[in-house]
């Protein structure tokens, strides 16, 4: 969908591959997020949102209307989470506008070529991440500290925002259900429909809404973060980015853990089976294309139909499902062992009493 300002109707749907009733539905849904935030008309921004089982990726780009007044031209890409992933969304640059392709307006089997053309590869993002490593540690520490159910308002320099999200994605598993949502630029923190992670200016101008239900992370101020959490976050980041170790699984729903108290409940203490597909050992400054931890390449063909009952999605998702199955079996085994032991003790006590 393409939204832009028109003289006749104001901000409207200019083009869409959806039927008209759906266009109106999506216009109404997306309207509060379609415009660039006030005071931030210098560059573009992206928004990754979830509406039931559909993900929406918005690319908002500064434009001028017929009277040379600053406005926004916004493209929206809609798709299921397995096709429109968090990793894909993070890769889309905010300093360039997706180009209109010659291959129609979809539907596409993956990211459209016009969007891929303005997406960064991992090496580029990693290079940016090296410039803001400390900020990533602060960011991850904030995510770890402020709760699994939390939503986050993040203060960070514009040029590092996507890199921070990309780094966090390496540390956690945001593609799992429910996926993380984000906005690389918002003016304030008002609204119940805010994405899970929103980047806001240092002086968020929401007068009526204090953002009480949000956790605030200022990556420019590491001193605001608990030192223990920072140490832990540094290890998580180090593992995720440079050792290519097992991703730090958090809760089964992919959300950050709640370390109460730190560091007892850190992810390291949770025994995890090592997936066979993840290479171990040699640390590398550049992550290898690991299927289970890194962003997935855009599928060029529609995915093969999954067997009924089998976990759907990427290989990574299937691997996660396998891990969950193994964990369930392990838990059943431990529980059976405990029950058996208890019965055995009770039997001994009974026999002792009888004798």
């Amino acid at each position: 969908m393409l939204f832009q300002w028109s003289e006749a109707k104001g901000f409207m749907t200019a083009r869409s591959s959806l039927p008209r009733p759906e266009q109106e539905l999506w216009y109404d849904r997306l309207l509060p997020r379609l415009s660039l935030p006030q005071g931030q008309y210098d560059t573009g921004s992206t928004c990754y949102l979830q509406y039931d089982d559909v993900m929406a990726l918005l690319h908002r780009w500064p434009a001028k209307d017929g009277h040379h007044r600053a406005s926004t031209r916004t493209r929206a890409l809609l798709g299921p989470p397995r096709l429109l992933t968090f990793a894909d969304a993070v890769r889309v640059r905010t300093d360039a506008e997706p180009v209109e392709g010659t291959d129609g307006e979809g539907p596409f089997p993956g990211m459209p070529p016009g969007w891929r053309a303005v997406s960064d590869d991992d090496a580029t993002i990693l290079a940016a991440l090296e410039e803001c490593h400390d900020r990533l540690v602060t960011f991850v520490a904030g995510l770890l500290t402020d709760g699994a159910e939390g939503r986050f308002a993040v203060v960070a320099p514009e040029q590092y925002r996507r890199a921070l999200l990309w780094g966090a994605q390496r540390c956690f598993r945001p593609d799992e259900c429910p996926p993380w949502t984000f906005s690389t630029a918002e003016a304030g923190v008002a609204g119940t429909d805010l994405p899970r992670i929103v980047f806001v200016p240092s002086e968020a101008s929401s007068r009526g809404y204090g953002g009480d239900d949000l956790s605030w992370i200022d990556v420019n101020r590491p001193e605001y973060v608990d030192p223990l959490a920072r140490d832990h976050a540094a290890r998580v980041v180090d593992d995720a980015l440079y050792r290519v170790a097992v991703p730090h699984r958090t809760a089964h729903n992919g959300r950050p853990p709640v370390p109460h108290p730190l560091p007892q409940a850190v992810p390291h203490s949770i025994p995890q089976p090592v997936p066979h597909s993840i290479p171990q050992g040699v640390p590398s400054p550049v992550p290898q294309p690991v299927p289970s931890s890194g962003p997935q390449p855009v599928p060029q063909q529609p995915p093969m139909p999954e067997p009924v009952g089998a976990p759907s999605g990427s290989p990574d998702a299937r691997h996660q499902a396998e891990l969950r199955t193994e964990e369930s079996e392990y838990a059943v085994f431990v529980l059976s062992l405990a029950i058996g032991s208890a019965l055995f003790v009770m039997l001994l006590m009974y026999l002792g009493a009888a004798l």
């Binding site: 309207l31 009277h67 008002a190 119940t192 101008s205 009526g208």
Partner: protein
Amino acid sequence: MSGAICDEVLDFTTPTGDEVSWPVLSDPGDSGGPFDNGGFRFRTRHLAAGGGYQVLQRRLVGSGTPGERDAWERRLDGEICAGLRLHRRFGERDQRPLLPRIVGYKVDVDEPFVLWQPVPGEPLAGHLGRLLNEDIDRVLVDVLTALARLDAVGVVHRAISPDTVRWDRHHAYLDGFPWAALAGEPREPLGEGPWSPPEQRTGEGNADPRDDVWSVGVLLGRIVSGTLNGTPRPQDLGPRFGALLGDMLEPVAARRPTAVEALARLSIASPVGRPGEPDDRLAAGRRRYEELRSGRVPGGHGAARATAALEEARPARRGFFRSRPPAQAAPEAQYPPRRCYLCLDDVQWTGTNLRRWVDGKYRALELTPDLSEAQRESLLLHAIQRCPNRAGDGPDHYLPVGYLRSGRPINVAVIGRSGAGKTHLLAGIVRDIDAGGLTNFNVMTGAVDMAGHDSFREQHITPLYDQGTMLPHTGAVAEVEYTDGVVVTVNGRSRPLMFFDVAGETLQPRQQRTRAAQFLSAVDALLFVADPEMDTIDATFGAVIDRLATRQGPDGRLDMPAAIVVTKSDLGRFEEPVDRWIRARSTAVPPLDWDRVVEESRDAYAYLHRRGRTGLLAPFARFRDCTLHFASATGGGADSGGRFPRGARPQRCLEPLLSLLAQLDVLPAGTLHRGAQ
């Protein structure tokens, strides 16, 4: 180089509104090059267009402060208005032009100009004392005929003298309108005796076409006597011209004859046809306005609200059996609950759950007992209190303490479609308030929330008025907040005046069910922003009116103050009747003359009616009290980069707000004059 001919292309607008480019030839010695002596002036030069067509260009050159430029542009606008009014009324039908014809104009550029078809002849000053009797008759008839035409289009020349009247031995002509004003505008001091009438010299009252009749009387004395000294007396001019002079030199304009009446003394029929409205469509609009207005019951909401507010502020009266004063009320009881504009819950000032703007963020504020009263009040200036939000249908939110600890709030919503000019209008209103526009009416103002007001200033007023940048479109949001708020204090009683400017898309009919449109249930007054340039229907007006149906009285009219603002009026400033009002800049000086407000409303109604924008007039029919206004938030157009290189300036932005405050009985006694209307 001197004397050489150079080419130039003039881009300008014709009287019919066409944009044209003319190659012209001009003398480089008269090209009006840099003028760096400081200040502004008009440079006049003759240009030769194709086919030997001659035009006279009067161009504004120089530099100075924005205020000085505004004054000079206003003069140029007066010239253009005069030329266009004459063109529209008489046009090409006039076979014997006694007045210069306008060829075109260009405004909103660094050096705006007007092009005239020059009149023939030489200044009359060189022929005084040498005119024959029939020449004198001819001069008088021509000049009075020209004045009658100016009178017919509501223009006052203001500078008739032997130097501005030209004579070609056959006819007399008026030479341009460098000081022209529209009839009814406040007089600006101009000229000296004996040529200028006394009221014009001192700048009293409003410009009147009979001001020029005084000057013709003096001119008559000069051309008859041939001398330039002394004020003419009837007995010095002989019986015929003495009778003509008669009461032309009465000190008060109202007692002088009009040009048509003076011509009748010479047995000349009126040269302008039937008197009355020059534009039948405008007249029809004005009649329609009066029909609608006369049929309605005067509004009572203003008085009712004022009474309620008074009751709110008035202490309990002592009764006979209650000789002791009542017990001191608890602090929170001093302030009745206020409706939250975000969730519509009632919120009581409690002094708890406070936050304060510190270091770029709102942080928890605890009012500890050890704080002095001054410290406490200082902290509360920046504070907000959490709304209990009992329904829990939205995120936690806060209201400014100034909203909860003042009198009854006045929530003003700015309504209109996207691109209508709501944001710019609000910026103009707040700028005028900051500039002391309300203080003139003894209405003291301050910020409801200082951080919020600073933010509005930084994001709206500074970019528009200090940096000359057009404001971006307001984006739609899920949760609406007030845009800016000021505390208005009248006679010691304070009330928060909150403005809500939301994206036009939020106000569209389909969006009325959303939370974002919920604030409309808490509004106390409405500013409808009408963009006359848009030829599509503005659905937001009807949608908002429908939503407010619960506020309608027994006759179906809504009991809520409303004003329709015709925005972007700078674009129509050469059009009748916009020119009359927008040229007046601001009339926001006490006392507010309600007759003038009604007059402006009638004109604005007729203007929209003539343009066929009847959909924009719906609020006038649906609200019991509704006024109409012309306003421009920028004072001119932006360039191709969306900037105002010569600065933006609000024109008449405060008038709609003053009308709402008058309807709400907020203006102090003595600052509002309600006449017969």
